[in-house]
């Protein structure tokens, strides 16, 4: 029962189930589209202005969409008492966590890839800086949100108002990552500043919090 095999099995199971129903990705997609459209009514920027504000708008939209995905992370497990089964099995708990986090990561990244062209079209976005840097920021930033989000989703299902509890405890701790994502995205789009520091910060954030999540997940899983 190695960590790798348990993680892979759980991840593949989740992906397969999601592929069959497409519940999460459809709702996330539609929600993000709504957010983009509503923001378009609120702001009517020129191409120059849009490069300045797009960073913030994009990440707010992705953040909300990620919360929609994260909220239902553990719903299926809860419904079928899988968590109880997991507690008594010899499988390492952090393998379950890793599988859930990776699954969420894939969903949100696919979502971002689908939304990006929409943002380009709606805001006449043309990046002054190199696009590959945007991809790096997106990947590191998404993992930052998803790794803590998956962990906090496991915590918030044990609370009285679980849907609102997740963003409530996730957002404050994610602030440095969000600042990094937004400011680096704006810097790359406008070509006015280098995202190097922000990318390093996101890397540190990701490493530190992945470690903390893996270390503490067992305590949370067994909390009763």
């Amino acid at each position: 029962m190695s960590t790798f095999s348990v993680t892979r099995t759980t991840l593949l199971k989740d992906l397969r189930m999601e592929w069959r129903s497409k519940d999460a990705i459809n709702s996330m997609l539609f929600f993000s589209l709504l957010v983009v459209v509503i923001f378009s009514f609120a702001f009517n920027p020129t191409a120059e202005e849009s490069r300045l504000i797009a960073g913030g708008l994009i990440w707010v939209a992705f953040l909300f969409a990620a919360v929609v995905a994260l909220n239902q992370t553990w719903a299926r497990e809860l419904r079928n008492q899988v968590l109880d089964a997991y507690r008594v099995s010899p499988a390492p708990p952090h393998a379950l966590f890793l599988a859930k986090a990776l699954g969420n990561f894939l969903f949100v990244v696919i979502l971002e890839a689908l939304m990006a062209p929409l943002f380009v079209v709606f805001y006449q976005l043309r990046s002054v800086g190199p696009v590959w840097q945007l991809v790096v920021v997106a990947l590191l930033g998404t993992w930052a949100l998803v790794v803590n989000g998956t962990f906090f989703a496991a915590m918030s299902i044990r609370t009285r108002n679980r849907e609102i509890m997740l963003p409530l405890i996730l957002f404050p701790i994610s602030i440095p990552a969000l600042v990094a994502m937004v400011d680096s995205t704006t810097g790359i789009l406008t070509g006015e500043s280098s995202p190097d520091f922000w990318i390093k910060l996101l890397l540190v954030y990701d490493v530190v919090f992945t470690a903390v999540c893996l270390l503490l997940f067992e305590s949370v899983l067994n909390a009763e």
């Binding site: 962990f151 701790i173 909390a223």
Partner: protein, 229 residues
């Protein structure tokens, strides 16, 4: 035991009085800002005390996850709550200071913004404690406390870099910018006084937590017995 506590209360009150005297009378008037600069002597020590309390919360939470004792959990919630109180003082005295000096209430100044993020993190901790279900509360909030404190250096670095990228007025003139030695007396005396006040508040809150838990357990016992009858 009671005598010790009463003596400590008296010492705390005396220190707070002396700190006030140092801040308003002994410390010289600052050249550029004038009298309003004296807010510094309450603003900065409160921030130091809040930060120390959050560190105590961090250690208590780790100890709780390791030992699972009611005492460490009670220290955790007490230090977080009192920390939020001191943080609130920082967040309110900051804008009151900024308004006459800069004409604006808020400038996303690095220290104030970091304090705001800390306040948000620990308020979210307190919210989790209120809404978690029963026995899990303690484990879940201990986990969140660890996340929160580990985040603190990252928050600090992120906001400092953000401020160097996008400069704006610095409330309070930065760390020790031309602080007269007599000014440092006022800062340190108030820091000592506030630390004693914080310790007092934490002890009260700690005992309150344990008493409330005992009462709740007793009620649960009665309910069980009542049902059995």
């Amino acid at each position: 035991m009671k005598a010790v506590i009463w003596i400590f209360i008296l010492i705390t009150v005396a220190l707070l009085g002396y700190g006030l005297y140092q801040a308003l009378v002994v410390a010289p008037t600052e050249q550029t800002m004038g009298e309003v600069q004296r807010i510094f002597y309450y603003h900065v020590p409160s921030a130091w005390v809040a930060f120390t309390l959050f560190f105590v919360n961090f250690i208590a939470s780790i100890v709780y996850l390791w030992k699972r004792s009611a005492g460490s959990d009670a220290i955790a919630v007490a230090s977080a709550e009192v920390g939020v109180v001191f943080c609130t003082v920082v967040l309110i005295t900051g804008p009151i200071w900024a308004r006459p000096v800069w004409g604006i209430w808020w400038t996303w100044d690095a220290r104030l913004t970091t304090t705001l993020v800390l306040w948000l993190i620990y308020v979210s901790y307190l919210v989790l404690r209120r809404f978690a279900a029963g026995s899990q509360t303690q484990v879940l909030s201990a986990a969140l406390a660890i996340f929160g404190f580990v985040d603190v250096p990252i928050v600090f670095m992120a906001i400092r870099w953000f401020r160097t990228q996008h400069p704006s007025p610095v409330i309070g003139g930065g760390e020790g910018s031309g602080l007269d030695p007599t000014m440092w007396h006022a800062v340190l005396w108030n820091w000592l006084a506030f630390s004693c006040l914080a310790l007092l508040l934490v002890v009260v809150r700690y005992r309150l937590q344990l008493m409330e838990e005992n009462v709740e357990a007793a009620h649960a016992q009665l309910a069980l017995q009542g049902g059995a009858r």
